[in-house]
């Protein structure tokens, strides 16, 4: 029986394993050094905040794996010998495979800051990171202030987490506005205000120079690059992005760049070795997507595709319309299609914001054809299926604005804002014509 070995039990690896089991009777082994069972990485924040216990982050009960004949191995792969198709573990154990799927995810970026390896300095990615956070920032007495470095999705989550335990947070953001490498100005500015409304000490256009040690190997302050200001703190969160977690592949014949290089079939340069999820890097980027996509949804999609290929229906990774979501404190964010920070050439943005400053949308569209290209929506839930269809049908922005009510996904009895949005759109058009 063919033995499929998957390194990594995150969403990519687990999706692959589940779908291979649905499609075949192959022997499946799922390897992880992080946790015995699959959990939802995106939910770690809610464990620290006390919304859930760690058990609740596990999407399948523990009996699921045995019932579905997916073998679990707790171990850390030290290297891969592709000639003999053998994995070597740090504890000296070995395992042979017929086909190997690398799904090892990401690790937090560190950019060589002085003091970045001190105790109390960490990212937030793994279960181990969460455990360390409980040691260094369990409450506001032990952690009198925390500094978060890096204004992305993990940075704002970590800020919200610490804030939930009343720990004062200084949030250092390199950019002039939160996440403005992705969000347009109006959207980003609203999130800046949301952060400040939660009493976060948000410092825009601010870089970290170094992390200061207390002399016992633990961080006790950071120094700001621009001003030289020293901010005393007991915890430093490094959340300046993630990169593929593939150090163990160094010295193997598997070709890597930033991530494990794969073609559209998610095949590496070595036969029978595949890579999916955060750790995979497309040799050529697909559309507007980045070559390395560290997103939950794309990891899951690659897992679905690789299972088809492994089970004899060779298939390209061919993602549909881009979508993503996040939550910034109390404001939910969803995006469908492509909205860039500044409209691409020949494109325009339509921006609408509610007076309460917690809801807004930005639509990108083609200035000459009026084709709808993408939407960012904050504080108003919208339907994935409807936007996916409108993008496929290449509807115009006029059509989208007129039918926006069809896409509304807010709970029943909520106030609707489509009328307001339609009026704002009309006004903007008139202003453009003037």
């Amino acid at each position: 029986m063919e033995h499929i070995v998957i390194i990594g039990n995150g969403i990519s690896g687990v999706t692959a394993a589940r779908h291979i089991r649905k499609l075949s009777d192959k022997k499946i082994t799922l390897i992880s050094a992080e946790t015995d069972h699959f959990f939802s990485r995106t939910a770690l924040m809610y464990v620290y905040m006390g919304h859930m216990k760690f058990e609740h982050t596990k999407p399948y009960e523990d009996w699921f794996w045995k019932k579905n004949r997916i073998e679990l191995k707790n171990g850390y792969v030290e290297t891969v010998e592709t000639e003999s198709k053998t994995l070597h573990f740090t504890d000296g154990d070995t395992l042979t495979y017929d086909k190997l799927i690398i799904a090892t995810g990401s690790k937090s970026n560190k950019f060589g800051w002085p003091g970045q390896d001190l105790n109390g300095v960490q990212g937030l990615y793994s279960k181990q990171d969460l455990d360390a956070l409980e040691v260094f920032a369990p409450n506001k007495n032990i952690c009198k202030r925390a500094v978060i470095v890096g204004g992305g999705l993990i940075g704002i989550e970590l800020t919200e987490m610490l804030n939930s335990r009343d720990i004062p947070v200084t949030f250092l953001v390199r950019e002039s506005s939160f996440w403005n490498g992705v969000l347009p100005e109006g959207d980003s500015a609203m999130i800046n205000r949301q952060i400040k409304n939660h009493h976060i000490d948000l410092r825009l256009s601010t870089n970290l120079k170094e992390i200061v040690s207390d002399g016992n190997g633990k961080a006790n302050a950071v120094i700001i690059e621009e001003t030289g200001e020293k901010i005393p703190c007991d915890f430093v969160g490094l959340t300046a992005g993630v990169s593929p977690n593939i150090d163990f592949l160094k010295g193997t014949s598997i070709e890597t760049a930033k991530g494990v290089l794969v073609n559209r079939y998610l095949e590496t340069n070595i036969k029978d070795v595949y890579a999916i999820g955060d750790c995979a890097e497309q040799r050529e980027a697909i559309g507007n997507r980045r070559p390395v996509e560290a997103v939950w949804y794309t990891g899951r999609m690659m897992g679905e595709v690789i299972a088809q290929t492994i089970c004899g229906h060779k298939m390209k990774y061919n993602p549909g319309h881009w979508f993503n979501s996040a939550k910034f404190f109390d404001i939910e964010y969803q995006t469908y299609g492509w909205v860039f920070t500044k409209p691409k050439e020949g494109h325009l943005h339509f921006h609408w914001k509610h007076v309460d400053d917690t809801k807004c949308i930005t639509i990108e569209y083609n200035a000459s054809t009026n084709e709808f290209l993408g939407i960012n929506t904050f504080g108003i839930r919208m339907r994935h299926e409807v936007f996916d269809r409108w993008l496929t049908e290449k509807q115009t922005i006029d059509y989208v604005i007129l039918h926006l009510g069809k896409a509304n996904f807010d709970p029943e009895l909520y106030h609707h804002f489509e009328g307001d949005i339609q009026r704002a759109f009309k006004n903007q058009l008139q202003n453009l014509q003037l």
Binding site: H51, Y297, R300, R381, F409
Partner: protein, 530 residues
Amino acid sequence: MSNKLNYSMSLAKPDAKDFSLKQKVAIGIGIIGLFILVLALFNADINHSGWVLTTALGLIVLGTIWFSNSVYLSESKGIKNDGVWFKSISSRGLIGWATGIVLTLFYIVLYFYPHLLGLGKDGAPNTGLVALFDPLSQLLSGRPASQWFVYGALYTMAILVFGYKFFLKYRHNRYEQIRTGSVMFFQLAFAFLIPEFMYVMNSDLPYYDLKSIWPLNYYLFDSWSIKGFLSAGTIGLILLIFGVVSIFIITPILTYKYGKRWYCSWVCGCGGLAETAGDPFRHLSSKKLSSWKLERWLIHAVLVFSVVMTMATIYSFLGNNPDSYWLTKSLFIKLSIGFLSLIFLLFMLFKRKEFGKDAKNASIGYAVVISLVLIMHFTGTTDQIFFIKSSSLRSAYGLYIGSIFSGVIGTGFYPIFGSRVWCRFGCPMAAILGLQQRLLSKFRITTNGGQCISCGNCSTYCEMGIDVRAYAQKGENIVRSSCVGCGICSAVCPRGVLKLENDGLKGRINPTEILLGNDVNLMDLVNQNN
């Protein structure tokens, strides 16, 4: 595993999330109010004029309102579940257990030893806690209080003050606010005030909470109840007809249009308490597959029990002679079997597909009811059914289901098993509405394409123990008989994936293998293969 306890060896509470001074004072005020009730319970020599009661209840209300204001109004609008699993009361800690035990003891005393609460025996004046409530009862209906009046008043107060708290907690969510307004209204007006006023108008009427529908209201067809209605003249007859109409006409229509939520989380008193006072415990329900299996057996067994018990009760006071009353024992049996068979056949004919694997279980349930009814008919005597005294079946149901299951376990165990134990495992009304919701209703919870991140907030906060995530992460609508439509899964979802909706029957149950986001051919391929 509590993350907190693993690392801190401190004896002092290590959490930063503690009560503020203001919140502690508010809790103190509420406890003083409760303490006055306890003093009354132990027959302390306190003045039983209305002022003491007003003060006690007033302090409880004031404390809760002040506490809620302090907790929620100072914070931004949004989900307020920070620290839920760290607090002793809401994570089965010492305070949680203590609360559970006190509540359970209260229910045992209430149901089985009401004289301990001060109920006067054989017309003797009330003492203790019951006497404390006499002035309020006199004011409303001009008669002394009973233990049920005390219970009803406290119950209503709990729904009102904790409803207010819930209102503030979800002040960003209009669905939750309007729904909570509805349960507060129905409890205050229909369960508490109207029955008292009805008594004032016509003292022959039995206590009748208009919104309490058979089989939840299992005593509706008791002979004392029927006699009470019939002896109260036209108004009694109208009420009895309304009771029957609400079972066979109003309930099916509303459930078809809105799902069982119109009742379970908008109208029902049990649901009302669970959604307000029980809200801090909703996440304690078990999400295990094994619990779901237990739930399905238990709730349907109770349904069978209640149907048979009700039929036996009616049967026992019918006669055999068609000349004295048109509805005889044998005609009643024929009509009942005919009606049940008709419903069963219609569902099997038109809803066979939706039943799926459960068709067998449904057939077993049907067969059990019919055979029990036939056994009853052919072995029963004038005062015996199933070879026991005909009234014992009814008493057994009242004791084990009506009192112990719904009261003692259902509410007393809130802090241990969560707030909907009765609704999930025992309520026969929920079972009937659930069957209809699963098979013949426009209601479903829609999932939003591929946006689910499997975080588990929805499942954790489902009071009915539904593993909502299991559906959401597959992009599959949630069509479950137990869903009471409280809307909290949708509220706590951080990615806007869930929406309660009423829509057409087509495509309501939509199992899929591949989620939206991947290329369309792959979705087609995989979904067709299944």
